[in-house]
């Protein structure tokens, strides 16, 4: 086992673990943000540089610091490695620079974009980005494209993370889309306007960290904070059938795969579940999905109000028994 220290917190991990995975094992604020790395897609990561960390001691044997910030998703840990993420001001400055680069060509059309509210780039920009842009040249412009009748591509919003390409490579039988051209004119595209319509292709919507690939069946229907996410499942021969239904009243507006705490899908779902089953009879509803309190999606959701009420009752009971109220036990923090 290798001993690694991240922001002063020590942990032991298997040899071959990356710094990012070690940080995720610790959890909390010290985990570097990721835009292209996706744990359930092989070979992802290394493109966006948002997960950079400062390695202030390479290993116990060779404690020299690494000369540049390294991408934590691609760098394996060494025994005795000391890593700095949020404790290093120059690293945060460097990451703000990365965010500025990612936003150079981004249209910032969040009020129009369907991804707003659950967008990784929006969160990242809010957390690290600067208000002003120093880029004076025109942004790249692309026409919006339909790739298949269910998926809409807005190339202007794309940050070229390659996640959707990995989805096509690893989940679908034959890849029909990829990244065309190079450099500033690189774009996601299908080979000569071919439709993307194989069984698992809809997962590229979920893996897209920005609003470049969006669900056409949900297009402009509502905003994510006006729909209620609900866990549900059905018997499906093609996938696990475990999904999140996004309800507006009793109507299902959207079906998506379940994302974990790092905003990554572990069980990919098929297009039948995603696009074809939008009737409540087709699903077994499990209950409301837990949404992070800081997310805008949890706006106007009253299950938290019930939690708060239960918490108040509990503290009142403690007071009645002559005990002191337990401030540390507030389960609403997550």
């Amino acid at each position: 086992m290798f001993k690694v220290t991240i922001d002063g917190i020590e942990t032991e991990v298997e040899p071959g673990t990356t710094i990012l995975q070690a940080a995720r094992k610790i959890g909390g604020e010290i985990v570097p943000p990721t835009m292209c790395y996706y744990s359930s897609l092989e070979g992802s990561g290394g493109y966006c540089r948002t997960c950079i960390v400062k390695v202030s001691a390479g290993s116990a044997k060779d404690p020299r610091p690494m000369p540049k910030p390294v991408a934590s998703c691609r760098t394996p840990v060494q025994d005795g490695m000391v890593v700095q993420n949020i404790t290093s001001p120059e690293l945060l400055e460097a990451r703000a620079g990365v965010v500025e680069f990612l936003l150079i060509n981004h249209p910032l059309d969040c009020p129009v974009c369907d991804q707003a509210g659950e967008c990784d780039l929006q969160n990242l920009g809010f957390a690290h980005g600067k208000e002003e842009s120093r880029y004076d040249f025109p942004r790249r412009v692309f026409e919006k494209k339909d790739i298949g009748n269910k998926i809409q591509l807005h190339m202007t919003r794309c940050i070229l993370c390659y996640r959707c390409v990995k989805v096509a490579d690893q989940l679908t039988p034959g890849r029909v889309h990829g990244v065309m051209n190079r450099g500033d004119v690189a774009e996601i595209s299908t080979y000569i306007e071919q439709a993307v319509d194989n069984d698992m292709s809809g997962n590229m919507i979920d893996v897209c960290p920005v609003g470049a690939l969006t669900d056409k069946t949900f297009r402009f229907k509502s905003r994510v904070w006006f729909v209620n996410p609900t866990d549900a499942h059905r018997n499906c021969t093609k996938c696990s059938g475990n999904v999140v239904l996004w309800f507006h009243g009793t109507e299902i507006y959207r079906v998506s795969a379940r994302k974990n705490e790092w905003n990554e899908v572990k069980e990919f779902i098929c297009n039948d579940c995603r696009f074809e089953n939008k009737k409540i009879e087709n699903w077994v509803v499990e209950g409301p999905r837990k949404i992070e309190r800081k997310s805008v999606i949890s706006q106007n959701h009253y299950e938290q109000y019930n939690q708060l009420k239960a918490q108040i009752e509990k503290q009142r009971a403690r007071l009645a028994n002559g005990e002191t109220p337990d401030i540390g036990d507030i389960s609403l923090r997550t």
């Binding site: 936003l103 910032l108 059309d109 969040c110 009020p111 129009v112 707003a116 208000e131 002003e132 842009s133 120093r134 942004r139 297009r219 402009f220 229907k221 509502s222 905003r223 904070w225 006006f226 805008v296 706006q299 106007n300």
Partner: protein
Amino acid sequence: MQLSGKSIVVSKKEMSFLEKLYLPAILGGLRITLKHLFRKKATINYPEEKRPFSPIYRGMHVLKRDEHGAERCTACGLCAVSCPAEAISMEAAERKPGEEKSFREEKYAAVYEINMLRCIFCGLCEEACPKEAIFLTDRITPSDFQRNSFVYGKDKLVEPVDADKRVDVTKRQSTAVLDFKTNTKLAHNK
């Protein structure tokens, strides 16, 4: 407990002969009534006469158009989510080719409704709007007899296209906002 210190202890003593007549009290009351007849009236003849309003009075909403007459609202839903009274609801639609003159953005509000009975005129919608589309104005929401007529749709909220019938909101935009709008270093002003 005394809050104002102005309370008077009520005495239940026997009334004198003059007090039992009640006439001085009645005349005193009449004197006050007569005095008020010659005072300045507290009411005005609305709508012929109008009171001066504060330039940032929070009255009936307006959905603004831009300088070319296209609707600014893009149905982003930020006004509705910020609304503490949950008075705003909307439905979005996609702009078709050829409608660029009517709608500024790719998406627009096909239905936009404010329930004026729910609205508390706090102005949070105005503050939340990223497109400078919704403003509260110094106009008053007229009264009515039916509850459902207080749900204002786009027909009542969107300002007219004619330049002389537009609703002026320049006074509501503080210098800080104007600076923010014209700062070309901010990405959305490019």
